[in-house]
Structures are given as C-alpha cells and as structure tokens.
C-alpha cells in the first residue's frame, strides 16, 4: 500500500497546505460540477432518443430494406430518360463552374479590399469584411430559395446562389492569404517605382496565386456537390431530376443519377489535383 509508506503528515500541516494551495487538493465544487455535466449529457441523450421515438427504427427495418432493394434493382433501363439525366448533370456542372468562376473573379478584387496590408483605410476594410460576413452567414440553400423567388425556377438561381455564398467565403480566404505574404518581395517591386496596382500585380499576385488557384479548385468541387442540393429547392440542375424521380418512387433511377454525380466529383477531384501539381508543385531546388 502506497499510503502506508508515506511519512505521516499531521492535520495542522495538511490544513495549512490546503489553504495555501486550494487547487492542488481537488476542490469538491469542481468535482460536483463535473458530475453534473456528465449526468446532464447522458440524460439529454436518452431523452432525445425517447423524444424522437428511436424504436421506430426497428419496425421500419422492413420498409428500409424494401427501399434499399428498390435502389439496386434496376428495372426498365431502356426507357430511362438518359438525355434528360445527363443534361441535368451537365447543367449542374455548368452551374458550379460558372458560380465558382464568377465568385473567384469577384474575390480577386474583394480579397484585396479586405486584407489589412492592401487596404490600410480601416473603415472601408471593416465595411467590406462585415458585408462578406453577411454573404457567408446566410447558407447557400437560403440564397438558393431567395434567388428562385427573385429570378424564377431554373439554373440561373443556382448560379447566383453559388456565386454569392462562394464570394463571401473565397474573399475571406483570399484576404487571409494576402495578409500572410512576404513583405520583402513587395518592397522589391515598390522600389522600382511601381504604383500600387502594379505592386499588387507583381509583388502580391505571384505569391498568392497558388493559394488562390487551390482554394478555387476546392470550391468548384464543393459547389458541384452543393449545386445538386440547390436543385432540390428548384434552382435547376440534377437536383431537380433527383427530386422528381424520388417523388415518383423511381429509386433505381435515383441511385443511377447519384452514382453519376459521384463519378463526376471524383473526376473533378482528380483534375484539380493535376492542375494543382502543375501550378503549385513547380518549385524545384
């Protein structure tokens, strides 16, 4: 027993040490709070499971099984409207591409207005940043609903939703990249007599370009996924095709479309990797 091997400490010393270092003896109040937190977490989880009637999962297993088998039991494939499906996918890709490229162009300018080193006038910088917060703070799906109301059903609403929300996030990421550049290279350009715009072009842009390209490529990939979701609220593309077939209980076709979208995303991911290697991985030593 460890405790027996310790030299005896009388109560008085113990008490004075306790008073001197109250934190060292494990305060009872802290232990109480910790217990309370654990108990309430467990209680909240159990209550939520009960509230959402988790036992329905067991009785639904039959239905779930039928759904899954319907998804993989492809019937009547000759009559599927392939033209419609693939034009939907093409539309989604175009939406994602256009939205991302427009957002990239916008962020290329706004990023510099939101970065501390390129926009020294702080009221303007803060105004730009707060506006970006608004664009970012509202979810893309909500922008989708707004633009469907504004410009009607169809891909244009999707493009605008992607453009607006990507502009918010990309500008923020770009401005952070701009703030992290090497000042010395900028000074080298300034010393040649280049004005502010030329300094941005030659001192800043070469440094931040790899980051910009990489982030925009990632956003193209991510926008392709979200463009699918945007279709569900009526903003055009393959999402509309999925929701139509879902409502008509054509689960096999839903599976087919989703698999096609997945392939597209893999291809985009692979292409982005190649482009990144081309533009960013070229520093040899």
């Amino acid at each position: 027993m460890m405790a027996n091997s310790l030299p005896n400490i009388d109560d008085k010393t113990l008490l004075s040490l306790r008073n001197q270092y109250p934190g060292a003896f494990g305060a009872t109040s802290k232990q109480l709070i910790r217990t309370l937190v654990v108990v309430s977490l467990v209680a909240y989880t159990v209550a939520s499971l009960w509230y959402f009637e988790v036992w329905r999962l067991a009785s639904a297993s039959d239905r779930a099984w039928r759904l899954i088998s319907a998804m993989f039991n492809w019937q009547d494939m000759a009559n599927w409207q392939y033209a419609q499906i693939y034009s939907g996918i093409a539309q989604t890709l175009a939406m994602a591409f256009l939205g991302t490229i427009l957002a990239t162009i916008a962020a290329l300018f706004i990023g510099f207005l939101a970065a501390r080193n390129t926009m020294p006038i702080s009221p303007i910088r803060h105004l730009v940043r707060r506006m970006l917060d608004v664009l970012r703070g509202v979810d893309q799906l909500v922008w989708g609903l707004v633009f469907v109301r504004a410009v009607g059903l169809g891909p244009l609403a999707g493009v605008l939703a992607i453009f607006v929300s990507d502009t918010g996030t990309l500008s923020k990421l770009y401005s952070e990249a701009i703030e992290n550049i090497d000042r010395k290279q900028v000074e080298g350009i300034r010393a040649t007599g280049a004005g502010p715009i030329k300094t941005v072009r030659y001192g800043y842009l070469p440094q931040v370009m790899p980051v910009f390209i990489s982030q925009s490529l990632y956003f193209f990939e991510s926008s392709t996924r979200s463009a699918t979701i945007l279709g569900l609220v009526g903003a055009g593309g393959v999402g509309m095709i999925i929701i139509e077939r879902f409502r008509a209980n054509l689960f096999d076709q839903v599976t087919f479309v989703v698999l096609n979208v997945l392939v597209c995303i893999f291809v985009i991911d692979w292409l982005s990797k190649k482009i990144r290697e081309k533009f960013i991985g070229e520093t040899r030593h």
Binding site: Q185, G188, A191, T192, G193, A194, I197, K198, T283
Partner: protein, 281 residues
C-alpha cells in the same frame, strides 16, 4: 548631385537618423558604415522614400525628394534603384520577369497587368543579366537560385531601371565571401562604367575601405565621419563600431577580402563573367 539637408527620422522614443546633411556628387561610390541600429538602413530607405523623413530635405536636380508624391515619387524610385540584403526578388516569377519589373514605371496599367514587355525591353533585360553573368538563368524561377545569384539578378533589375543612383542596403551581408566579392565587384563596375552613384550600407569596414571613394560613418543616427577611406583612422572606426568592432574588423567577416585579387583594380565585364563561372562550378 544629391544634397541631403538636416534629414531626420524620429520614431516614438528616439531618432533613428538625426539632422544629417551631406552632398554627394554624381558618380561617387559611397560606403555607409556603423553598428546595427545606427540608422544606415533608415537613411537609405528615406532616399527612395520607402521610409518618409520626419523633417529635412533631399535635393536632386533641384527637386525636393522628401516632398514628392504620386507619379513623381514613382518616377524618383525608378531613377533611384535599390538592392536589398534579402534580395527581395519575387520568388515565384522567373528571373527575366523579375528583371523586367524594373521597367514597370514606364508601363501603363494594361500592359503591366498582362505582362506585355516589348522585345527591346526583354533584350535589354537579358543584356543586363548577361553583364552579371546570369543570362543563362533567365527562364528559371527566381526562388531556385542561390543567394549570390539572387543578388546579381536583383542588381540586373536595378540596372534596367537605368537609374542615376543605386542604393544598396547591406548587399553582401547574407552572402559567402566569394559571392560577396562578385557582388561588390559588380557594384563597383556599374559605378565606374555607367557613372551611377552607388550608396551602399556595409557592415564590414574592410569592404568599405576596399571599394568606396568615400566613407560615411553613422553612430546612433548621427553623422560622425565623412571622408575618404584613408582618413578613417583605426580609433575612429573603433568609436563608430563600438562593441561590434571585433566582429566588423575580424577576418571572417571581412568577407570581400580574397587573397590574390588587387583591391581597387578596375574590373572588366570579362572578370565578372569569370567570377560567376567560378561560383557555378
């Protein structure tokens, strides 16, 4: 003639440069010496207005440089080139484009944005690189070069600005002895052949003595010596360098003093080429 009058730069608690007056005739090679923090860099950076003076004037061809702004300031920077201790090249651009940025002042916004440099500008840039023995790296990305090579590219960038004055802020402090010598020889050649005034901050006394027509000593922002190298006595130098005297005088730091090369010999371009070949191998 560059004329500096009562030039002062104050920071919150102290003067980095206080009340310096100088006049430097066109074509002189001037070494500015002093310990770290003596105000050498601040003085140079005020001359091309990367730093703004608190008070005083800088006259060049009857214009007060300290009062320039906008286009006139950019024009002044274009005619008053600078090379830096850390070379300050844009790492991700190729060497040729780095050199061509020396022409940016002469370009409109559109041609700058689209990197449209004329064939004659490119030829001029390649010739400038060739003078420094760096033409063979023209299409290489700048951050693949070694320190000595980068500094030579930076000098080529300064040359295509066709400057009247070349400021060199500790141009050899980050280089090994051989490269330091190549760079100092290049500055000397440019000074002699092109008649460009060179103002170089030099940390080591020996380099200043070897290459410069005139030495300026700064101590805590105050001008304490101004004269030809011969006039700079050992006591004076000790006074200027203070606690850093040993370091500034020591053999290891007198980086340009290579054995067997006569010091003030006028170097030809062939010499430069030879030195660059030495550094390649």
């Amino acid at each position: 003639m560059l004329k500096i009058e009562h030039l002062t730069k104050s920071f919150a608690t102290r003067n980095a440069v206080s009340d310096i007056s100088l006049s430097i005739p066109q074509g002189q090679m001037v070494g500015i010496i002093g310990r770290s923090g003596a105000g050498k860099s601040t003085l140079l950076r005020m001359l091309n207005r990367l730093a703004d003076p608190t008070s005083g004037s800088i006259y060049f061809e009857n214009r007060d440089i300290a009062k320039l702004s906008g286009k006139a300031l950019y024009e002044w920077r274009a005619s008053c080139a600078m090379v830096f201790q850390q070379f300050n090249l844009v790492g991700r651009l190729d060497v040729l484009t780095n050199v061509l940025t020396g022409r940016l002042y002469h370009h409109g916004i559109m041609s700058s944005m689209l990197q449209m440099f004329s064939a004659s500008e490119r030829a001029f840039a390649i010739k400038a690189l060739d003078r420094l023995g760096m033409a063979h790296t023209a299409l290489q990305q700048a951050d693949t070069l070694s320190g000595g090579q980068m500094q030579r590219v930076a000098i080529a960038r300064a040359l295509v600005q066709q400057p009247k004055i070349l400021l060199a802020d500790e141009p050899i402090a980050s280089l090994d002895p051989l490269n330091a010598k190549i760079v100092m020889d290049a500055l000397r050649t440019i000074n002699r052949e092109d008649g460009i005034t060179v103002l170089a901050n030099l940390h080591t006394l020996d380099t200043a003595r070897t290459y410069c027509d005139r030495i300026i000593g700064l101590q805590d922002g105050v001008l304490v010596f101004d004269g030809p190298p011969e006039k700079l006595t050992l006591e004076m130098a000790r006074e200027i360098y203070g606690a850093e005297a040993e370091e500034a005088f020591s053999e290891g730091m007198t980086s340009t003093a290579l054995a067997g090369v006569p010091a003030k010999e006028r170097l030809t371009e062939r010499d430069l080429q030879r030195h660059s070949d030495m550094s390649m191998s």
